[in-house]
């Protein structure tokens, strides 16, 4: 779960990391009140859970509260890469001597957190590391010992931070690490972490990502989830423990396992068929979950839904019942291609075969192998196109 900037900023403040004075607003009037209280130049920042808001007009400077009100009027209701702007952060504008990057990442290969720093602040650190690896330094953190001051000092030296700034730099890094641990985060970034003209540090922006699987021990953080940043299918999917990812093509794809689901969308793509979505109902899926999955796969006006299932825990007749249950709630105008294997596959396949004859179910093609599956999908797509032209 990624936090909004204003949420991250509040949290870092609690860990003793200097952040600009300011507050978040949900309306133009609130923006005015906050800007008026600050009483000097402010920066307005659209709160969206995606990058690239600067180019999209999601970050604006305002000289006074009236200007802030005017600019906020343009900001509320706009979208950045499809994400709606429903909140705007109003921060005091900060003078900047130097911008740096400081973050705690999780290194998957070594199973250790890394303290990462760069004298290049304000940019996407992955880009900096890719383009100019020599400008990014990091130090691994032994999890049983935690981050130590000497490690921070060595890193500060490596990125060329002036010696007289080291003493202030250490508590910022230690604070980030404490926040990272306390919140079960997989990423905590202060970016840019700036040095102001008076030599003090200030964190102007922060990205925090929390491990979804640890949220059960952070009831306070669960409340920070902003569902307005998710699409309706994503919200439905989360409620039912299903993974749904929109892909933008024409064929819905459902599988019972992430690997098989990815193999299916790759297979279709390799044969020139663009998948509309990725729906993974997971192992041990119940009838209800499969039915919901079918409904999700029908999103994005798909004319064909591919179901590629290999069972080990669930039996195939349960999957077949779930598929049919899902179809019952959907408006007609689509066809299914199903490759269903595992325990009781004959029963499951027979149920689908029989249902396919009934008017209340869509046409269902059964595939016994992947080549056949691709052929059937391509044939159905051609048919759908021809019918579309006929209309």
């Amino acid at each position: 779960m990624r936090l909004h900037e204003y949420q991250a900023k509040k949290i870092l403040g609690r860990y003793g990391i200097p952040v600009p004075p300011g507050d978040v607003a949900s309306s133009v009037d609130e923006v005015y009140r906050i800007a008026d209280r600050i009483g000097q130049r402010v920066v307005l920042k659209a709160q969206v859970l995606t990058g690239g808001r600067g180019q999209a007009g999601g970050i604006r400077l305002a000289d006074d509260a009236d200007a802030a009100r005017r600019l906020a009027g343009q900001m509320f209701g706009m979208q950045v890469a499809g994400y709606p702007v429903e909140k705007v952060l109003v921060d005091q504008a900060i003078d900047v001597e130097q911008e740096t990057y400081l973050g705690i990442q999780l290194d998957r290969a070594s199973a250790q957190p890394l303290l990462v720093a760069s004298a290049e602040g304000g940019l996407e650190i992955a880009e900096v590391a890719h383009d100019t690896p020599e400008r990014v330094s990091s130090v691994p953190i032994e999890p049983l010992l935690g981050l130590r001051s000497y490690q921070v000092r060595a890193l500060a030296d490596e990125i060329g931070l002036p010696r007289e700034r080291h003493n202030d730099f250490v508590p910022v890094a230690l604070g980030l690490y404490r926040a990272f641990n306390d919140m079960d985060a997989t990423l905590v970034e202060a970016n840019p972490l700036v040095i102001r003209c008076d030599g003090t540090f200030c964190c102007l922006n922060s990205r925090i990502v929390i491990d979804d699987h640890a949220l059960y021990r952070h009831p306070d953080l669960i409340d920070l989830r902003d569902e307005s940043q998710d699409t309706l299918p994503e919200r439905v999917a989360r409620r039912h423990g299903i993974t749904y990812v929109r892909l933008g093509g024409h064929v819905g794809c459902l599988s019972n396992g992430a690997g098989l689901a990815m193999a299916t969308i790759d297979l279709l793509r390799a044969h020139g068929v663009r998948p509309a979505n990725f729906v993974d109902v997971g192992k041990g899926a119940t009838l209800e979950k499969v039915a919901r999955g079918i409904e999700l796969a029908r999103n994005n006006s798909t004319q064909v839904i591919v179901v590629h299932v290999f069972c080990s825990l669930t039996s195939c007749d349960t999957i077949a019942r779930g598929i049919l249950r899902g179809c019952e709630s959907l408006t007609p105008g689509f066809a299914l291609v199903v490759c269903l294997q595992g325990p009781r596959q004959e029963e499951g396949q027979a149920m689908l075969q029989q249902a396919s004859q009934e008017d209340r179910y869509p046409p269902i093609c059964l595939s016994s192998c992947l080549d056949e599956l691709v052929d059937q999908v391509q044939a159905l797509m051609r048919q759908a196109q021809a019918e579309g032209v006929g209309e």
């Binding site: 699987h213 993974t243 690997g259 098989l260 689901a261 193999a263 790759d266 279709l268 595992g342 992947l370």
Partner: protein
Amino acid sequence: MSILVNGNTRLLVYGVETQEGAIYTERMLASGTAVVAAVAAGRGGGWIENVPVFETVQEAIRATDANTALICVQPQGAAEAILEAADAGIGLIVCATSRVPVHDMVQIRAYLQYRDVRLIGPGSPGLFTPEQCVVGAIAPHILRPGSVGILSRSGSLAYKVIWLLTEAGIGQSTVVGIGDGLIVGTGFAELLAMFEDDPATQQVVLLGEIGGQEEEQSAEVIRDRMSKPVVAYVVGHTAPPGRQMGHPGAIVEGYAGLAQVKVDALARAGARVARTLGEIPALLEMR
């Protein structure tokens, strides 16, 4: 021979009272695996499916000489169960539980460095040596004994590939599901080296996916250490960046974890890369 599990495996099930644990236990017993003990706090002294239940792992080992543990507790309890099994002296721990908090895994990996124990998982779909030992959930009839080792990050993909091989008359030596997490106990690289040293294994199928460095690290082992052929298949080419594709660990972040980068590394190292699932059996038969 085989790797990790065989006819001498004496299995302990931690979490037998969960829905998954009960199904696994029933399946494993039906397939002839020696499930010798179960551990369920508060239920020690009872029996489940003719398996004695103990309060602690230590007690179970004393009474039954269990040497391998399958963990299928709730995610909240997985770290405790793994650490308890490790401290009690279990040599091989297979954690089937998925969605274990990643900070728990960071601590566990750090701690297990000081213990003589191997961890597979979390989120492992299982560990199977056909006709000898099944740890986890698989319908045993889809396995066929033979000489192909299989490594996979995904359960569904592993099952499908096992089935494709079995249908093509190609048997398996051992199948290892390494788990779906951001951080797992044992990676592909170490297991490839074990397959290289296993006389029963003649070739290996590696089933990778987007995210992390498993495949890149494997490529180094394939290049430097493997004499046996490796067929590799990597899924997630169509995945949009920054999206978790079902598995906690299946995510492309920035430039890290791209499917094509992994495929290129594996191909350069000498692996035969399958472009689709269906190609895998044919690439093996070339031998």
